[in-house]
Every structure is written in structure tokens, then in C-alpha cells.
Symmetry: C5
Subunit: 361 residues, 5 copies
Amino acid sequence: MTYIPIFRKRPPPGTAPGTLRVPEDAAPSTVDVMQYDADELTERRLEPFADVAAGGRPGLMTWVDVTGLADLDLLRTLGERFNIHRLALEDVVNVHQRAKTELYDDQLFVVARMVRPDTQEAIEQVSFFLGDGCLLSIQERRGDCFEPVRDRLRAGRRTIRGSGPDYLLYALLDAIVDGYYPVLEELANELEVLDERVMTDPDESLLADIHSVKHRLLMYRRSLRPHREAIGALLRDESKLISAPVRVYFRDCYDHVVQALDMIDNYRELVGSLQDVYLSSISTRMNEVMKVLTIFAAIFIPLSFLAGLYGMNFERMPELRLAWGYPALLIVMATMAGSMLLMFRRRGWLGRRRRPAGGGR
Amino acid sequence: MTYIPIFRKRPPPGTAPGTLRVPEDAAPSTVDVMQYDADELTERRLEPFADVAAGGRPGLMTWVDVTGLADLDLLRTLGERFNIHRLALEDVVNVHQRAKTELYDDQLFVVARMVRPDTQEAIEQVSFFLGDGCLLSIQERRGDCFEPVRDRLRAGRRTIRGSGPDYLLYALLDAIVDGYYPVLEELANELEVLDERVMTDPDESLLADIHSVKHRLLMYRRSLRPHREAIGALLRDESKLISAPVRVYFRDCYDHVVQALDMIDNYRELVGSLQDVYLSSISTRMNEVMKVLTIFAAIFIPLSFLAGLYGMNFERMPELRLAWGYPALLIVMATMAGSMLLMFRRRGWLGRRRRPAGGGR
Amino acid sequence: MTYIPIFRKRPPPGTAPGTLRVPEDAAPSTVDVMQYDADELTERRLEPFADVAAGGRPGLMTWVDVTGLADLDLLRTLGERFNIHRLALEDVVNVHQRAKTELYDDQLFVVARMVRPDTQEAIEQVSFFLGDGCLLSIQERRGDCFEPVRDRLRAGRRTIRGSGPDYLLYALLDAIVDGYYPVLEELANELEVLDERVMTDPDESLLADIHSVKHRLLMYRRSLRPHREAIGALLRDESKLISAPVRVYFRDCYDHVVQALDMIDNYRELVGSLQDVYLSSISTRMNEVMKVLTIFAAIFIPLSFLAGLYGMNFERMPELRLAWGYPALLIVMATMAGSMLLMFRRRGWLGRRRRPAGGGR
Amino acid sequence: MTYIPIFRKRPPPGTAPGTLRVPEDAAPSTVDVMQYDADELTERRLEPFADVAAGGRPGLMTWVDVTGLADLDLLRTLGERFNIHRLALEDVVNVHQRAKTELYDDQLFVVARMVRPDTQEAIEQVSFFLGDGCLLSIQERRGDCFEPVRDRLRAGRRTIRGSGPDYLLYALLDAIVDGYYPVLEELANELEVLDERVMTDPDESLLADIHSVKHRLLMYRRSLRPHREAIGALLRDESKLISAPVRVYFRDCYDHVVQALDMIDNYRELVGSLQDVYLSSISTRMNEVMKVLTIFAAIFIPLSFLAGLYGMNFERMPELRLAWGYPALLIVMATMAGSMLLMFRRRGWLGRRRRPAGGGR
Amino acid sequence: MTYIPIFRKRPPPGTAPGTLRVPEDAAPSTVDVMQYDADELTERRLEPFADVAAGGRPGLMTWVDVTGLADLDLLRTLGERFNIHRLALEDVVNVHQRAKTELYDDQLFVVARMVRPDTQEAIEQVSFFLGDGCLLSIQERRGDCFEPVRDRLRAGRRTIRGSGPDYLLYALLDAIVDGYYPVLEELANELEVLDERVMTDPDESLLADIHSVKHRLLMYRRSLRPHREAIGALLRDESKLISAPVRVYFRDCYDHVVQALDMIDNYRELVGSLQDVYLSSISTRMNEVMKVLTIFAAIFIPLSFLAGLYGMNFERMPELRLAWGYPALLIVMATMAGSMLLMFRRRGWLGRRRRPAGGGR
């Protein structure tokens, strides 16, 4: 498992800001452009990259969706074309940013972190630039959770086709935020299984599984939490880029973030409690083991001593000559063992005395 | 126990906002309408749904109480009739919202979470829309804690009949908040029993019960806590929908939420302390077990060795021939056992040395 | 111990606000009235309740001190006479309010919680209504910490007789807050005893006592903490009911609350630390027990084996015939035991090796 | 150790505010007066107390330094002479105040808590009254950390002699705050020793020492923390008593408080971590002990059984007659012991397998 | 390891503010001056110190970089030349300041803490004074992370050469903040190794390594955290010293601090979780050890007793005479051992029953 976030291959300290470096394992770049208004929608893949604005009559909304960061020239060209601040462009390429919203002059720069739909363990960075009439999104690699949004655009759904790029930004961010819910649901399922196992069958692997759930919760929380602030900044945004009717939608998206974070905190407390139960069940079990050992030892060690005593080879041990010596000793031994058992029963060491779990409810 | 909140069957990520989906296990929908002023009260069940406004003279307050979410057409009709934003309507149907207050133009949208009076483990969502002269409430299923409010309306109690729908909203929210008190009281009783058991009879089932109480506290806290913010928003509300005299009542309701949350936090600390006591009582008990084992072993193992020594078959073991060899050995053995016992008594290992629990008070 | 706060016998959820119910075990009601100015003081017990205002010339300050909540008619009459909001009156009777300050029109409503001077475990609610020229205080039952204030009034002390009812309110609240100090001091004494015991004589009852101190700290904190906010609200009060010179006194009272809360937090950390020390001393002791057991077992079990070996009845065991067989074996055995002891001494298992506690200082 | 703060001998609850009581063990009172400006400095001990103002030409700064609280008349006289509010005077005598800054009309009242330089465990209260052209400081007992400040005054250092009493207040507060550094340094040394011991030689006394460090950290934090707020209040002070150039110095003093608190928090985390390491080293050691016991028991108990078996006195035990019976049994026994040892070696129970501590670095 | 921060050799409490003392082990002082504008760059080492302004035409930006604090005269001269407040100069020399930003009249004083690039354990203080057209930086000793910035200056990079000293301050602070990333990456690597080891091979040295990682995290957090506030103060700075375009860069630098702190908090939670896993794996292992012991003891102790019984030398023990006595006893013994094994198998004590770690995923 590689849940420990690593941010290798950063530019070395002291490098000039805005220096672009292709991240390791960068995927090849492609550019998809959708241009639409309420009446019309065109969809193109630009390869090699041509001017986005070319084609399409004025007044159309433009969504430029870049995938893959391998082609730095492409990114630089986009940077110039969309007038992107070089610090923002550097953040696009250093793919370990926290989610955030920044205002550059006439442009909103939003970074979000998307759970990859194919492998839920990986989280990739998606950067958005919201300008007047256009939205630029830049993803790390192919495979995203935007397909339903594209389908709504293609299907000519009135709300999304009739609104500006701010609504499109909302739709994409909402898809990203909602993408955390299935993985949390998966964790909820694992938690239920762990809860069952900790009560009935606590073994050592349980702890590794608890540890794993804990780490994934930590990873999702770390990734999701800054979205609250980022989307909150969009809500309070002072630029004119987010229109008032769309703000209501962002408020809804903010609610989803808060609810998911609430879930995560809840799960973390549950995991902590599970771990406590597991640890104390280990202690309880060790107690059981010790009791078994002690009962055997306390009963048989004195008896063995007695047997050893009369196994001695002294010439004068009068008891050995007595006809009733052996049966008498057997009776003494049985009495000792019986009284030991009685004592242990009184201390409640015999019988496992378990009430059914949850019996107090 | 299904205390792990699950929010399955959410619409998939990327779905258009406002998409309504019948939640799983949705109850069939019914609509009850009460119209009243200080002088007059009519009560009707609309089946099939007819226009609410029909019947009743102008100036009457209207409370439309919808139960069950199975009939999406009904909800859509209501949405149009009451001019509900589609995001709010989506929240009504996605029944895992946190409690919240939102202002839509001329309408207050309030979500609350109600402990079901029949089975205190389940918590259902109740949505309210407060408009001018009317209140719409939408519950997940039949069975609520509103009956006393309805009785007060029917009995013609002056305050509630003479006030507007804002007071009605207060009365219903207050009933919901007060509904948490009996379940907390139940938990307080369980805690007292656990406190007694942890001191007198700590067994493994205790831990499961502590775990269960902890989880329910977590569930209630998670459910109740957002009400503080939601009702606080009503207190500070800038719309004209909550009149000044009713605000005093909401302040009282806010107090009740804070007090219940205070209780919950208190109980959580008590549960944590109980768990500590339980864990350390396990350790103490293991100590007792180990002492018993060690005492038996330390006394009898050396004696057994001596007995074994004189059980050896060497031809020349002069002691074996001595007439007083056997009684002398017995005396040596008794002395050894006695001095061991003395040592253990000095170390305080004999006797359980328990002061009566709470004896320090 | 009944430290788990219980709030039974609340009105059922949905009851109309302002519904008064006699709390269980309510004490019979009495009314004591003091009227005073700098020159004159009259003191009366009203039984049955007569109009408070009767008697006494205008301009006198009036303190109406009600004890016992059994007589609802009396409370309703007072409510009308002093123009009390019915929500406030309900809070008076539901005696599990948190401390708070609320402003109703021309009246300050203050709830405080008083440690009962007779039995320091119980905490009762005291409600105050501060109006123009009069103070109404309502206590749960007889027995309070106000006697020194009454004595100062009777003794004609200038400050209190020459000030308005706001100063009287201060004096009473200050008496309530100061009433927490003796019980905290009592807890400090118990903590010192526990600290001593945990170092010298940790037995199981210690844990119960730690648990008990923890719970009482929790109870006092829960009860005292809201006073900070309540008295803070009086400091910032916007009504004219608290005059500027008296505010300085309330600031002092606020300081006392903060200081006591500070103490409680301090004690809670100390208790937590004591518990850690106790738990680890149990572990250490178990280690000691295990070492004793292991030393005995490791020395004597091999020796017993050797003795058993030469106790076998094989016909051909040449060693048994040797004249020096027995003494040689004894030497071997002594060597084995000695080398074992040496090994254990090297591992530091022999001797208890305790430095005097606190010897590191 | 008496680290549990006790505040006995407070006036009983309900006592009139401003009542002065000599604290227990109050030191006899003396009054030292320094009067100075840039050119001139006089230093007098007033005994008995005479009017401070007497002697010295107008325009001189006056520092009245009172030591010891035994003489209440003196304090009352000073209170009248410097126009001190009686609540402030009460705080001077009740020597368990938290550090604070309060503004009374034309006077700043500052309470600070000084680590006594002679015995670093004790912390005493120092009260300051800053008025126009004069500073009054009241200490609990002789022995302070102000001598270097007095020396700077006597040496005619320009800054301190040329500034007003606000700078003097700064210099004294700064000396008090800096007085916490040596004791923290002492604790850092103890922590280093503990860190060394916990890795090499964890015995039970270690825990007592950790406990002691923890408590002293708690004590210093409790004492120092309110200074942050108190000095912060001086920074934001709205009276004219602190001049703008001196505020820069108070900012520096504030920084020192924050830095020392930062240290304390750091040390507390280190202590907590040390305790965790200690506890788990106990567990690890118990594991070692158990392994030794188990290895001995598992090897020799089966062997002893075999020896016991052939020590039985049955008449027909054919093996006993065999010439090679005894050597064959010895070989069997050696094989069993060897295979046991092999199994334990495989489980890694033999050898202590310690990597050098810190070897992972 | 010397991770416990020590601040020895501070001036004694009560020393006049602004007193300069050479810190212990102070490095010899050198002064390097760079003067530049977009067209021209000169670089000089001043030795002995000459007037900085000498040489270079007006309008050039000046960066004076002082290394080593041994030469107090140099520092005093610089202090006079750059008009530095003596409190600031004292902070330069007392090299244990927290990172901070302070405004003195027309000068910004910034303290930062730099991870030394040569030995990542040590952290040194760097002080900056930003004035009009010049930046003064003072480092503790040779060796810094500024070389790339110098290279950018020398290479004539347009942004840095064309901007003022505020941009240079940004570039240096950014280099300092980025210097924390490699050491965090190193810690992430160690964490991955620890995570692997705790699952496969938990021995005692692991705990020491966890302890070490924990302490270094604490050290870096303590050092880095105040930078957030310090750089935040630069962002909100009200002086004209930071120009609006450069503020965008400081925002980026602020982001880097927040991201690194986020990482550190994340790692701390991971370390805490690792420690929990380690502790509970110790408990689990002890359970295993105890089970082995108990199984051996429970099987062989009763058998040994039986063997001892028939090893007794009573004259009348009829069983010993029976021809089938010995084989019958052997069968009884085998039956007992077998049923014991069966019981232990049922309890799940036999076999290690480990699911593959992470098998629950």
C-alpha cells in the first residue's frame, strides 16, 4: 500500500518560481474542446494543438479539457493563450497541491483532488481556470468522473447548456466531490465487517486491517478537507466570475464536502473505538490463557510433589508399609484437587462466563 | 446493530443536480393538511393529492404535512406549487442530509433529524419549507413526535393558534429536539448499570456494551450537533419569515440543543473513563492470576526437586539409610514452604487486600 | 454515587412551551422578602404569599427570595407580578438548566448552579430575575450559601446597602462561584493522597478512587463552565440594568470563574497522569511476579529433570553404581543452579533495583 | 512534592469583596522606594512607612517596591495613597491570582507570577500598579529577580533612566518572564537524561521521574500561560499609560512568553512520547521474561515426564530390561530438546535480536 | 541525538534589552554584497567591513548577506548603518527565535529558520531586514540554500533582476521553506520502512526508531509552524515595502508552508498509528508465547503426575503388579494428551491462524 503521500521530484529548493518540470510518469497530453450554447454543441480533439478559439461562432462557451502533463510546450502555449500566471502554471505541474481557490486578476484558479474512478486508492490533481466564457481543466491522466457531465452537455440538458462556464465548473467540482462518496461507502462496509470480526474472531490480521482503514481515512480526509475552504472561497468570491444563481449550487456542493468530512470524522472515531475493543479483547484472552495454565499448575504441581514424596527411596518411610497408605494418599490427592477446583470455581475462573455480546442492550 | 451510517443508493457522481430518485424502502406518500387561525381549524387528508389551497378562506395558516417519499410526482407537484428550488427538493429525497437552514429567496428551508419515537435507534430526516402563511413538512415515514403539537392545535391553545407558521415551525423543531432527551436518559441508565458492573463484575461482554453505548452516543451527537448551527441560523435570520416574538422561542430551542450536546459530551467522557477502568481491572486480575500461579510454583517446584532427589536410585546415597532422614527432610521441606509463604506475605501477595471500592471517598 | 446527571421527569416532547410541572421531590415553597436602602431594612417571610410590594415605602430595593418549587400557584403569581416570560418560568421549574443569562425586554434572567453547602455532591439551580429596583431569586430547596450576604445587608454595610439590585445580584453570584472553591480544595486534598498512594501502595481500590475524582471534576466543570459565558454576558450587557461601577465587580466574579475552571483543568490532567502511573505500575508489578516465577522455574525444572533421570528404573544405568555418582551429580546441580543465578543477576532480574521514587530529582 | 496548587485560607464564600486577610505565612512587610530621572536617583527604605512622595523634587519617577503582605495597615494606606480599587487590593492579598491586566480608571493593574530564583519550585505573585509617573510593585516575600533591573537604574543606563514608569514595568515583567527560561532549561536537561535512561535502563523509578517532570511542566504552563493574555492586553492598551516607543518592548516581552510556552508544549509532547516508550519497553521486557520461562518449561517438562515414566515401578516394563534402553532414551531426550530449541530459534525466540537503538537512522 | 531544543547561554534574566552577546560556537563573520539592477550586477566580499554603500551607482538594489555572528562590532556597525532597532539586533544574536515578522518604522524585520542543507538535523536562524532598496540577511554560519537564488541573480534572470528587494526576500524565504521538503521526504521514506517492519518484524529497536521519527517531526513542526504566521503577516503587510505583484509570490510561499505543515500533521498521525500497531503486536506475541507455555504445561504436568504416582514406593499398589498395567497407563496417558490437544484445537490455540496481512482488503 502506498498511502504515505510522497512528493518526490519537486524542483530543488531555490529554483525560480514558475519553473516547469514534467512530473515523473506524466501521461501524454491530449486536448479536448467542447464549445456550446443552448442551441449548438461541437466537440473536437485537438492533436496537434491548434488554437482553441478557431472555429465556433462568438458567444459560445468553451471547455478546454487537457489530459496528461507530458507536453510542457502545450502547457506553456495554453498559459499564454489563457493568460495564466506562471505561479499557477507551476502549481498545475507540481501535482501535489492541496485543493485551493486563487484569484488572479480576471481569472479564478481552482485546484481539486479527484479520486480516480478506476482505482480508488489513487487521487489525482485537477486544475481549473475559469475565465470569461471559457473553462480550462487540466487533469493528470486519462480516466475521470466527468463523463456524466459530458453526457448532460451532449444531451442538451437545459440547465447546463443554458448556463455559463461557472455552472460547468460547479458541475465538474460536484462530480469530483461526489466521487468521494463511493469510496467512503466501501470503507463503511469494511468497518461493518471489522466490527463483526472484532466481536467474534479477533486475530492479528484484524489489526493490520484496522491500520489500513485508518490510513485510507487519513488519506481521504487530507485530500478532501481543503476543498471545504476552496469551495467556501468560491461562495464568498468577489469577482464577477460566479453568478448569483450558480452560487446556490456551490453552496450545495459545499454541503456535500462538509457531509463527507463529517462521515470521515465519524469513521475515524469508530476505528479508534474498534482498536480499543481489539486491544482489550487481547488482554482478556491472555487472561483466559493464564487461568488455564494456573488451574493446571495449581492442581497438579502439589499432587506431583506428593507423588514424588512417596517415590523417595528412604529406608524408613513408615507410611509406605501401611496397607491403606496408597488408597489413603489417593483420597488425600482427590480431596486436594477437589478443593482447588472449588476455590477456582468460587473465584469464577471456571467456565467462560460470557454473556452474549450486546446482552446489556 | 447498524450504527454505521450508510448512504447507499445516492445518485452516481456527476448526476445533474436536482435529479430525484426514490430512496430505497421509501414509504408510500400521504398528505395531511391543517388550516387554522385563532377561530377555525380544518383537517383533511388529501388522497389523491388535490390542490392544497382549495377550500379554506384566505388568511388561514396552512400546514401541509407530507409523509413518505415514494410518490415522486407528488413531490414534484408540491415543488411547483410551493416554488421549491430543485436543489432543496433533491435534499428532501436524499435522506442523509445534516440538519441545516438555507434561505431560498422568499423561503426558509430547514432540515432536521428526528429520533423515531417507535424505535429509538433509527433517525429519520424531516424537511421544512417555511413560506408566507404556510409551512410544508416532509417526513420519511409514518410515526413522528408531532402528535402533541397537533393536539395543541386542535385544542385551540391560544399561543399556537394565534401565531403564524414560524411558531408552528418552532413547535415542531422543539418537539424534534426534545425527542433526543428520552434516548439520552436511556443511555444514562445504561451508563449507571455499566458503572456498577465495571466495579463489581467486569467481564468481556462489558466491553461490547461500552462499545455499543459509545457508538450510539456518536450517532446521536453526529445527528444532533448540526441542529445547533441550523437553529442558530434561524435566530440570526435576516428574512422577515421569523417574527421577533417567536425568536425568543427559537432561542429556548437552541438552549435545549446545547444542553443535550453538553450531556452527550459528558457521557462520552464517562464512557471513556469506564473503559479505562475496565482495561486496568483486566490487568489487575491478570496480576492476581499470575500471583496464584507463581506462589504455587515457587513453593512446590523446589519441594518436588528435593523429593525427586531422594527418589534417585544411586547405590550410595548415605542419607537414605539414616533413620531420621525422612522426618528431617520433611522438616526441611516444611521450613522451605513456610519461609516462601512468609516472603510472599511480606510482598503482599497473599490475601487480596482489596479495600472496598470507593472506600477512599 | 449518582454523579451521572439525570434529567428525568421532563415534560414529554411536544409539550407546549411554558407548561409548568412540579419537579419530583420539590421542596415546599416559602418566600422571604428583604427591602432596604442605605437607611432602612425590613425582613419578612410571606406565608401565605401576599403582594410583595405591600409595605415599604417607595425607593426601597426589594429582594424576593423564593425557596422550594412545590407551589406552582405561587410561581405563577410571581410570574405575573414580575412580568416574567413563560419560557423563563419554565426554565425555573425545569431544574437542569445550564447557567445562562438572557435578556427579556426590561428584565435580566440569570440561571446559576450552586454547590449545596450541606452536601457538596449535590448541585442545585438558582434563578435570578433582575428588574428595576428589585431582584427575585428562586432556589430549589432550603440551605444556601447566601447567609453571609444577608448578614452584610443586615449589618448595614455601606457598599451593599447603598447599591442597587445589580450589586446584590453580583454578591449572590459571587457567593455561588466562591462556593466551588471549598469542594475543589477537597478534591486537591484527595489528589495529594492519591498521588502518595500511587507511588507507595497501588492497589485496585486506587483506580476506583481515581475514577471517582475524575467524575466529580467532570461534574463540577460541567456545572461551572457555563457560568463563564453567563457572567461574560452580564459584563457586556447592553441593558441599563447593570451600572458601570458594578461591572467592575462582575469582572472580578468572572475572574473567579476562570480561575476555578483553570484549576479543574489542571486537576483533570493530574488525574490522567496518575492513572497512567497506576497502570504502568501494574505492568511493572506483573513483570516482577513473572520474574520470580521464571527464576524458580528456570532453576528447579532442569534440576528436577536430572533427579528424575536418575530415578529411572533401567537395569543398566552405570552411573548409579559409581561411588562418586551421587556427590558428582550434586555438584553438577549446584553448578547449574549457580550459573542460572549468575545469568539472572546479569540480566538484572535479581534484586528489585528500585531507586527511591523521585530520586531523579 | 507539593505541585498540586492549593488555595486554602481563601475568605469564605459570601464574604464582602475587598475584605483583606493576611495570607498564611505572610512575610513581614518592607517598603523600598527609588526615585529617579535621567540625572538623579535616590533610594530609601521606608520603615515605618512614611509618605512616599515626601522627599524628591517633582518630575521624578517613583518606584515603590513593597515586599511581604503581613502588614495590612500598610497595604490599606498604600491603597488610599495610590487610589487603588479595593477589588484590586483584595487580589494583591489573595496570592493565587492568574496573571492578568486590568484597567481601573487612570491606573493599570498587572498581576504576574514569578519563579522564585532561590527555589525554582515555588512561584510567587507580583502585583503592579502603573499610574502617572509612578509604579507600585508588591511582592509576596523577599528574594526576586529584579536585582539586575535595580543595577541598571543605579548604573544610570540611559534607556531605563530616561524612560517613564511604563518602561520600568516592562523591564520588571521581562525579568519575570525571562526567569522561566532557566527552569525550563533545567527541565530540558532532565528530559535528556530521561531519554537516555528510557532507552538503556528503564526501571520503575523512571516513571516517577517522568511523572514529576510532567507535573512541573503543567505547573509552569499554568502559571505562565495567562501572561500571554496579560501582556497582550498591555500591547493593545487604550489608556495613555503605555507610550508608543515602549510598546515595541512589550511586543518583545510577549514574544518571549510565546516562545517559552512553545517550549513547554514541546516538552510535554516529548514527555508523553517518553512515557509511551517506557510502557512499551515494559511490555517488551515481560515478553522476554515469558519467553525464557516458556523455553525452559517447553524443553524440560516433556523430558521430566519421560524420566518420570521410566521411574515407575510397574513390574512389567520391558524397556527397563533392555541393555540399550537407557542410552536410547538419552538419545531420544536429546533429540527432543534439540528439536525444541530449533523450533524456538525459528520463531526467533532465542537471542535477544536487538538491533542497536536508533539503528534505523 | 540532540532533538531536545536547548536554549542555553541566554543572557541572564533582567539583563537590559538590546544587550548583545556572542552566542557559543559563533562562526566568524563575513559580509558579501551583491548590487544589481536589470542591467548590472556587482558582487563583493567586504573584509574588513567597509561601507556598503560605497561603490555602485544610485538606484541599484543592494543585498548584504552576513554570515557568522562572532563579530559583534560588525553587527553594531550594520545596526547603525541600517538603522536597526536594538531589540531586533538582540533577536539576531539570540539564535533561538521563532519565525516572525515585525515592522519597525520603515523596516520589515523577518526571522526564519532554515534546515541546514549539509546536515538536515540542524536548523539555523536567518534574519532579514527589508528596507527601501536594500535587503540585509544575517545567517548563523556558512552553508545555506541560497546558492540557486544567487545563480538566478548572476544569470540575469529577468524577474529577479528586474524586481525590488521584496522579490529577493520572497526568493530567499521560498528557498528556506522549500528546504523543508527534502527532509520530510526522507522522513516519509523512513515511515514506509517502519510500516513494513511493524507488520513483518516488530522488535524493540522499532520503537526507538518510531520515537526518533516522532521527535524529528516535532522539531520540524515547531520550527516551521511559526513561518505560517510570519509569511501571513507579510501578505497582509500594511507598509509599502511589499509591492502588490510580489504579494502573489508570497501567497505561493504561504501555500508551501501550509502544505508542508499538513504533511507533518499527516505523518504524526501515521506515526501514532504505527506505535499502536506495534504495541498491540507485542501483546499478541505475548499471547502466543503464553499459549505455547500453557499447552506444554497442560499436557505434560498431568502426565508427569501420573508417572510420579506409579513411581511411588508403597508396598501395596496392586496396579503395579498387573501385567497390562503399564500399557494400560500408556493408553490412558495418550488419551489424556489427545483430548487436551483436541480442546486446544477447539479453542483455536493451535496453528497461528494468521490471515495474510491486509487480507481484509
